[in-house]
Every structure is written in structure tokens, then in C-alpha cells.
């Protein structure tokens, strides 16, 4: 069992104090921008190879059906069509998609014999252009025998429910109850137990660019080159190779610029398999780009889809004692990524509070819907929603101010590092200070006065409040550690960079991650600049393909700035130390007396004698005999930075270990106005105070937070996959699946508090998901506050106009 004493020694020892930092913490202009602004970045849709064909996919209109027959002859006869493959034919070329630790739910990129969700691929085509490929799809004749669609996850759990997979004896793909601490005791000694049945509907990441791949099979050396917008080309290329039927050392995956992901493009296995199968079938490069319907209907876009029965046990004075969560999660038709979102949720289920016990009961249920993938928040998003709703309800029932009940229960600054009931450790924080700052920033008294004034006019203004955790720096152990078997050990989810200083002193860094809309070039350049005292503009950053062999899990789980800081600083220190040794040798000094300042190496405190980066670079590259003994030529370092603090779960799963210990925190205060007649919720203002440790680049962090908040506005008010009773997807395009536009966004004011992490380089924590992790529950609280005179209680998101009108009507008619 892990204890907080297992934690690593403070990583920031020896680092410059904050006041001495020159580049870390500055709003360095973003280096990624110019090529994106000029339209010159290469996205996967921009890749063209000689002889390249274009793919298209025929999709099932039915949620659940047996494929009786497929006739592809008319499609094959169309001039320009090079290949038409059914699921069975594709399966001769590529293997089933990798099941990441999942129960045995077999899945192929193209359905065989049976379709299990609307939009599942039935046949794929390669042709000389996309128009012809789509003509060919339209000419394929498929005969279906429609089967009953399983749409309701609770009905799907019934023993006699239609089975989604005949290989499984139930639609419940996974069930587990985990108890941490004295749950029964806390429930028994509670003065009050507040309960809620909450519903978080399925939403999707919906990046502006869809997923895509260009696959090029070489039949002579049995190799494949793949351009794509997958994130895992340097993390799980071996798994993709297995699927593509290529030996692992003959798959080259080349990253492209990525038009947003928000979690949805980690794997993109379907797209890789479709392009790969078509390239193998034709012997030519094939580009397959999802269109918007492909992406919404069939990508791994979808986040959690949960029903919660939740209880919070409290003492009379509002002290939070225990939390129980019974969760039914609708996973859709497949279980490719297993229950990772519940492993993830183990990082912070009890939030920023001193809650000493937790029961986590989860059922992962299969239905006839597209499978869950990952979406910003990755399982912690509905967790924050439900916990904060319970806290508001407790405040109401116990007659305690909602800020005060939080203050009474916050983990105190002197309690860090704090071990939570499931075992994860929180590194640092000052939650009360964040709350106080947010209340001040929002000018809460003025808004209360405005609320009074408007109520007198019959208008409903609401002030929201939520104080939430953002676990950052993910560790992939969460994908499998809810299982006992196989007893996989913990991983460290590493990140690598390769750095070199050339003979003229130029610094180049090759990163293993792709450009996903975040800022790896800028962050890496800031760190190099910090370590060598050079200008970040002078650092060259490039993206490695999968053949360099350096592990990188890329962006995800709000990890990249933490991990790139560690990897880059490690490489920089290795090279800098070697340069110091070479400089000391040249200047006939002790290395301990040489320092690196402003890109020069000089005697400590004696700037008169110095060598430039180029002086040392040239020596290191060309003049081996003038370098110290035992030094090899060159200035190259590959540094792999492992997760700074992870411990394995205990065998009995009473302690899941530390796996997500860099924990940011935020307090959001949205101001809304609700029209109870139309159900329209309008954001009037939005205030957020965020603590993500040392802020690497304030402008970029604020960009992440504001972008996340606006996705949270979507989650709160608009975004939802809706299905008909027959299982048809009613939201297959942006006309039905609504994402926020400029019109839904108020002025968002963001401020920071900085509590550095003791576990990371420079004390940075992640900030990629916090906006979306907090905003939905904060806005729910605001709508609640607005409609309090009508007796409304929000326990379902999104709060579409129809739902708001329904809640108001139910409250007026006295229905629960």
C-alpha cells in the first residue's frame, strides 16, 4: 500500500526561484501560430502522395440489424473505383481493433454480419476521387434484417434484454463496487444524508477537423507508412501495427497538424484500419478523411453517459463524512477502451473536501449506440457535476451558506500532500484562498443586489458557484487498474524529447507529441530558454515520427506541459552539464566554477572569460582531442521523463495508489438569466479563479481555460447525442448537435493563484481540462439559483430550453 511518504523528493530543488526565472511564467508569443495563420500547416487532409486514392464509407442506417447480403457489383463497375470491401473482406487484410484492457468485446472497423449502432461501417471504397468513392457507396446494395434496438441503459441491464454481443452473457460489460474507508459507519453516524439522482447525457468532442489517415502499404518490404491525426503514434504504435497486420518495426507513423481533439483523436483506430485495409487492397496510398457525419456518428468522440444515484453523508455542522456513488454508464455498442473513464474518476471523486469514505459502484452497460471514447474531462466531468450538486443541496438542507459549507470542508493548506480515500494524492493547494478571490472578483454583493432588483421585475437572475478539482498529469494505469486480472503493474506514461546543440550553437528539439492545438513548440522553447539563457525564438522544435523509438503519450489528461517541462529540462541539463565540462576544460578551470548565463559559459562571477554556445558546439562536434577525456563527440541527449509520482494499486484494491497527483483547483462563478417561459438560459458574465501551480505561459493557460469554459457552456446548455426510440441518431450533423457559437459566450474573466506542485519541474500543474470540468456544474448551480423562487432543482444536463421549461412546469405542478 502506498503512503504519501512514498512521494518523490522535491523535484524543484536547485531550480531558480520564481523571481529569477526569465522565461518560465512569461506570455511568450506562440511559435505555432504563423504557419497556422498562413494556412500552411500540414493537416492530414492536406497530405497528397503520388497515385493516392480516396476512401469513403457506407454506414448502417439502422441501430441494430443483421446484414443479410451485400452486393458491391454495381459499385465496382463505376469508372475510377479501385476497391470495394465488405467487413469480411477487410478482415482478411487488417485485424480486429485492439481492445485496450477491455472485456472480450470483439470489434472490427467494418462490421461483419451484424451492425450494432447507427452509422457503423458496412462497406468501404477506394476510388480516384472522393466524389466517385461516395458514388460507389451509394451503389452498394445491402439487405438488412432489422433487430430490436436497445436504447435505454437501465433496460439494457435486464437479464432478458436483447443481447448486443452474443459472446457476452449480459449487456453489463463490467460491474464493480469499491469501498474506501468506513462507508457504512459514516452513513450511520450522519445527521443528514442528501441524495440525488442525476443524469449526464452523452456529448462529443466535435473538433473542427475530423479524424483522418493516409496509409501507404509497401508490399515488397511489408511496411506501412501512415500519416494521421492520431496522438498515440509514439505511445502505442505497436498496437496499431498489430491491427494493421504490419510488424511493429515496419510501421512508420507520421504526425500531422491536428485541428483539435479534446480527447477524441488519441487512437482513431477505425480510421487507421479503414485507410490501411484499402491501401493493402489496392497497393496504392489511400487517404480516408471522415466527413462530419462519419465523425459524429462513428468516431470515438463520445464522452460519459451516466445515471448517478448519489448520497452525501454529513454531520449536523455540515462536516462531510462519506460519499456513495452508484453509476450506470451507457458505453454504447463496444467497449474498446474499457472503463478508463472510471479509473480516471478515481483521481478526485471526493473533490477538494475532507470526505473520509467513498463507495464507488459502477456498471458499464452496452447499448446500440456508438461506443464511448474520450472527451475533455474523461470521466471526472460528471463526477464534479454530481458532487457539487450534492454540496449545494446539503447547504440548502442544513441552512448553511454554500460558500461556507465548502470552506468548512476544504482540505487545508497544511494537510498537503493529502491522501484521498481511494488512494490518489493531491500535491498542494489553497482552496479557501481561491474561493475568496473568486467571490471578490465576481463582485458577488453587486450581483445579489441586481438579482433582487430583477426579481422585483419578475426576471430570474442566478449566481452560480462551484469549487472543483482538476486532476492533471494522467497515468494510463487508470485504464486497467479497476481489474484485478490480469494483474497488470502500474505504468509511468512517459514523455520524451531529443535535443541537440549543433556545431554553431543552434538548439534543436524533436518532440514525440503532435501539434494538437496546444503549444508544445512554445513550451519547449521557454524551457530551453530558461535553462540556457537564450531567446526562445532561436530554438527550433520539430515533430518526431514513430521511428525514433522515444516514448511519448502526447497531450491528454492535462499532462503535456508537465511532461514536456520534465523531458526538456532533463535533456537541457544533460547537454548543459557536458558543455560546462568542455568549457571548463578549455578555460582550464574546475567545472564547478563554470556557469551558463545568457547562452555563454563563463567563470562564476567573472564575466570577462567566456565561451559562446558556438565555441563549445564546434569543439564538441569536430575537435574531440580538445574535449575532456571520457567525453564522446557531439551534444545530443534523449530524455524520457516518467510520470513524477505514481504508485501501484494494492492487491485488494482498497488503495488505488497515487496516479494523478498534480491537482489543480478552480472556483467558477457564472451569472445567468433564465426565462422560465421559453427555457432559454443566457450567460450574463463569467468569473473563474484557477490555481494550476506555476503558470508556464499566462496567455496560453487562459486560452485553455476560456476554451474549456465555453465547451462547458455547451455541456450545460446545448450539447447532446439524442436517439429515437428505434435507436436512430437524431443529431448526426452540426445542425442538430449544437456547439456554442460566439453568441452564447459572455465576457469571461480569469484570474490565477499559484500554488506550485512539489512534484514537478518548476512546480507546474496541468490546465487543459479545468474549464470544462467546472463550468457545467457551476452553470447548473446558477440556473438553480435563478429559479429558486419556483422550486426548481437541476439534476440533468444539458439544460436545453425544453428541459428548463419541463423543470419549471414540474415544479409548479408539484412533481419531483
Amino acid at each position: 500500500m502506498s503512503t504519501v511518504e512514498d512521494r518523490p523528493t522535491t523535484a524543484t530543488t536547485g531550480s531558480p526561484r520564481e523571481g529569477e526565472r526569465r522565461w518560465v511564467g512569461r506570455s511568450v508569443p506562440r511559435k505555432e501560430d504563423p504557419k497556422l495563420l498562413a494556412g500552411r500547416a500540414t493537416f492530414v487532409g492536406d497530405v497528397t502522395l503520388p497515385g493516392m486514392l480516396h476512401g469513403a464509407v457506407l454506414r448502417s442506417p439502422h441501430a441494430h440489424a443483421r446484414i443479410v447480403s451485400i452486393d458491391t457489383s454495381a459499385a465496382e463497375a463505376i469508372p475510377g473505383v479501385a476497391a470495394v470491401l465488405t467487413g469480411a473482406q477487410a478482415a482478411e487484410l487488417v485485424n480486429p481493433m485492439p481492445a485496450f484492457c477491455a472485456e472480450p468485446v470483439p470489434q472490427t472497423a467494418v462490421a461483419i454480419e451484424r451492425v450494432r449502432y447507427p452509422g457503423e461501417a458496412v462497406a468501404i471504397v477506394a476510388a480516384t476521387d472522393r466524389y466517385i468513392a461516395e458514388d460507389a457507396c451509394a451503389a452498394i446494395r445491402v439487405e438488412y434484417e432489422v433487430l430490436p434496438a436497445v436504447v435505454d441503459p437501465e433496460a439494457a441491464m435486464a437479464p432478458d434484454a436483447t443481447r448486443i454481443h452474443e459472446t457476452l452473457d449480459s449487456n453489463v460489460a463490467f460491474h464493480r463496487t469499491l469501498d474506501f474507508g468506513d462507508v457504512e459507519g459514516d452513513l450511520a453516524r450522519a445527521h443528514t444524508v442528501v441524495r440525488t439522482r442525476a443524469r449526464w447525457h452523452r456529448m462529443g468532442a466535435q473538433p473542427m477537423e475530423t479524424a483522418g489517415a493516409v496509409a501507404s502499404w509497401d508490399p515488397f518490404d511489408k511496411s506501412m507508412t501512415v500519416y494521421s491525426n492520431s496522438n498515440f503514434h509514439n505511445f502505442l504504435p505497436w498496437a496499431f501495427a498489430g491491427m494493421l497486420g504490419v510488424s511493429t518495426n515496419r510501421l512508420r507513423m507520421i504526425p500531422c497538424a491536428v485541428g483539435g481533439s479534446f480527447g477524441s483523436k488519441h487512437f482513431i483506430t477505425k480510421v487507421l484500419a479503414i485507410a490501411g485495409a484499402l491501401s493493402k487492397a489496392t497497393g496504392r496510398p489511400v487517404q480516408y478523411l471522415e466527413d462530419r457525419v462519419d465523425n459524429i456518428a462513428a468516431n470515438d468522440n463520445v464522452g460519459c453517459d451516466r445515471i448517478y444515484d448519489a448520497e452525501l453523508a454529513l454531520a449536523e455542522d455540515g462536516e462531510m463524512l462519506g460519499l456513495t456513488l452508484r453509476i450506470i454508464d451507457d458505453y454504447g455498442a463496444y467497449f474498446q477502451f474499457a472503463h478508463g473513464q472510471h479509473g480516471n474518476a478515481m483521481a478526485q471523486p471526493t473533490g477538494p473536501y475532507r470526505i473520509s469514505s467513498l463507495r464507488y459502484d459502477v456498471s458499464c452497460v452496452l447499448t446500440n449506440k456508438v461506443q464511448q471514447g474520450f472527451f475533455r474531462g474523461a470521466g471526472a466531468d460528471p463526477g464534479n457535476f454530481v458532487l457539487e450538486r450534492l454540496v449545494d443541496k446539503a447547504a440548502e438542507q442544513l441552512g448553511i451558506d454554500r460558500a461556507e459549507i465548502r470552506r468548512r470542508n476544504f482540505i487545508r493548506p497544511d494537510q498537503f500532500p493529502f491522501k484521498t480515500p481511494p488512494g490518489n494524492v493531491y500535491d498542494s493547494g489553497n482552496y479557501a484562498a481561491v474561493l475568496d478571490k473568486a467571490l471578490e472578483l465576481a463582485g458577488i454583493d453587486d450581483w445579489r443586489a441586481e438579482q433582487e432588483r430583477l426579481r422585483a421585475e419578475g426576471r430570474y437572475l442566478g449566481i452560480g458557484l462551484a469549487t472543483c478539482q482538476e486532476r492533471t498529469g494522467y497515468n494510463a494505469s487508470e485504464w486497467w487498474f479497476l481489474y484485478d486480472n490480469p494483474p497488470l503493474p502500474a505504468t509511468s506514461t512517459p514523455e520524451s524529447v531529443k535535443m541537440d546543440v549543433d556545431a554553431m550553437g543552434g538548439v534543436r528539439v524533436e518532440v514525440g507529441c503532435p501539434l494538437w492545438g496546444n503549444s508544445p513548440e512554445t513550451v519547449v522553447s521557454q524551457v530551453v530558454a530558461e535553462e540556457f539563457g537564450i531567446d526562445p525564438a532561436d530554438v527550433s522544435v520539430t515533430y518526431a515520427d514513430s521511428t525514433t523509438g522515444a516514448m511519448s503519450a502526447g497531450p491528454g489528461g492535462s499532462r503535456l506541459t508537465i511532461m514536456l517541462s520534465g523531458a526538456t529540462r532533463g535533456a537541457a541539463r544533460t547537454i548543459r552539464d557536458k558543455m560546462i565540462r568542455i568549457a571548463a576544460h578549455a578555460m582550464e578551470m574546475d567545472p564547478a566554477d563554470v556557469e551558463c548565463v545568457d547562452g555563454t559559459f563563463r567563470a562564476k562571477g567573472a564575466p570577462g572569460t567566456s565561451m559562446s554556445m558556438a565555441d563549445i558546439g564546434m569543439r564538441a562536434h569536430l575537435f574531440f582531442h580538445d574535449t575532456p577525456e571520457d567525453e564522446s563527440s557531439g551534444l545530443v541527449a534523449v530524455h524520457t521523463y516518467d510520470h513524477p509520482y505514481s504508485t501501484p494499486p494494492s492487491a485488494d484494491r482498497k488503495d488505488m495508489g497515487a496516479f494523478y497527483p498534480m491537482v489543480s483547483h478552480a472556483c467558477h462563478i457564472p451569472i445567468v438569466e433564465v426565462d422560465p417561459e421559453t427555457g432559454v438560459v443566457t450567460l450574463r458574465a463569467y468569473y473563474a479563479v484557477n490555481d494550476c501551480g506555476t503558470v508556464m505561459n499566462p496567455t496560453l493557460v487562459e486560452g485553455q481555460i476560456v476554451g474549456g469554459i465555453v465547451q462547458g457552456i455547451g455541456a450545460a446548455l446545448m450539447e447532446e447525442y439524442r436517439y429515437g426510440e428505434d435507436g436512430a441518431l437524431d443529431t448526426p450533423t452540426f445542425r442538430e448537435y449544437l456547439v456554442p457559437s460566439m453568441h452564447e459566450v459572455p465576457e469571461i474573466v480569469v484570474e490565477h493563484l499559484e500554488t506550485p506542485s512539489p512534484f514537478t519541474e518548476y512546480g507546474v500543474k496541468g490546465a487543459g481540462e479545468g474549464g470544462r470540468l467546472v463550468a457545467p456544474t457551476a452553470i447548473a448551480s446558477a440556473v438553480d439559483d435563478a429559479l429558486k423562487p419556483l422550486g426548481v432543482w437541476v439534476d440533468e444536463l444539458p439544460m436545453t430550453p425544453e428541459r428548463v421549461v419541463g423543470m419549471v412546469t414540474d415544479a409548479r405542478e408539484g412533481r419531483p
Binding site: P34, A41, I78, G707, P740
Partner: protein, 174 residues
């Protein structure tokens, strides 16, 4: 199965148009969309396709000065037209147009996929309204979707671009 499926491609159409100052004389299929002509035949891949149904605005270009969704226009409709894409904005030396510079300075982009559409929509707006306020920007660009930025910095960028261009003009007049 039907044996009468027509496989004869329709006759191509001659289109003469000017794109970013270069004139072209082309034969295109009647169904070729402007976006595909730009991205494919002309190699101008800065114009991006986000939804292919006119909702997202990523593919916005200027046709005779009017912001137009290139995924909703057939190339064959554009005989005699003048088209401007994002590639027309910056210099060949990598220098940025004042609108691009404003987006850079105000962090008005993250992944950059919707950005070319935003920039071309901004070009049109600033032709009509020299120094737009945030409401003008929301009115003009409210139909362009962005999933990264939360829009706040895009609005800021467009307002800043208006001010910068106005200052440039005023400076030129002095």
C-alpha cells in the same frame, strides 16, 4: 441488381477565374465544389473543410469580395469571378497581414483549423466596418464555429485588427 446505373461522367465545364491574383482557365466537373477545386487542383490547402454543409464556416473564402462558404458553391458557378483565400494574406517571406498579426498577438487561435475562415470573414467585415466593436464582430462572424478558443480572443483579435488597419491608413494619410 440494376444494370442501368449511369457511369458516364457529365461533360466538364469551362471556368475562367482569378484566385489570389493568378488567372486560371479550367475544365471542371459540374459538381466540383469550390473548396475541392481550391484544395485539390489549385493546391491551396489553407481553406479547410469542417462540415461540408455550410454550418461551421471553416471554408470561408472571398468571392468577388463577399465572404462565401466554399463548400456550398460549385466551381462551375464562378466563371469570371475573383476569389481570395487565406494564402493571399501573408507575404511570401512569411510576413503576416495585419489581421493575422492581430490574431497572433491576441491568441486568437489554438489548433488553427477554423482560423482561415475566421480571417477571411474578418477581411470582409473590415471592408465594411473599419473599426468594429465586439457586437459587430459577433454579428459578422457568429456563424463561424471554433471549438478551441471560446471565441473571446477571436473577438478581441478582430477588433484589434480593425484598429491596426485604421491606424495604418491614418498613418499613410499623414
Amino acid at each position: 441488381m440494376s444494370e442501368t446505373t449511369s457511369t458516364a461522367a457529365p461533360e466538364k465545364v469551362r471556368v475562367r477565374l482569378t484566385v489570389n491574383g493568378t488567372s486560371h482557365d479550367l475544365l471542371v466537373e459540374p459538381r466540383t465544389l469550390l473548396a475541392d477545386l481550391l484544395r485539390g487542383d489549385l493546391g491551396l490547402t489553407g481553406t479547410h473543410l469542417g462540415c461540408e454543409q455550410g454550418v461551421c464556416g471553416s471554408c470561408t473564402v472571398l468571392v468577388d469580395g463577399t465572404a462565401t462558404r466554399s463548400c456550398l458553391v460549385f466551381a462551375a458557378q464562378l466563371d469570371g469571378a475573383t476569389v481570395r483565400t487565406v494564402e493571399s494574406l501573408g507575404g511570401v517571406d512569411g510576413s503576416l497581414h495585419p489581421i493575422q498579426r492581430a490574431f497572433h498577438e491576441n491568441h486568437g487561435l489554438q489548433c488553427g483549423f477554423c482560423t482561415p475562415g475566421m480571417l477571411m470573414g474578418t477581411c470582409e467585415l473590415l471592408e465594411r466596418t473599419t473599426e468594429p466593436d465586439p457586437d459587430d464582430v459577433r454579428e459578422a462572424l457568429g456563424g463561424n464555429l471554433c471549438r478551441c478558443t471560446g471565441y473571446q480572443n477571436i473577438v478581441k483579435s478582430v477588433c484589434a485588427a480593425g484598429r491596426a488597419l485604421a491606424a495604418e491608413r491614418n498613418g499613410a494619410q499623414v
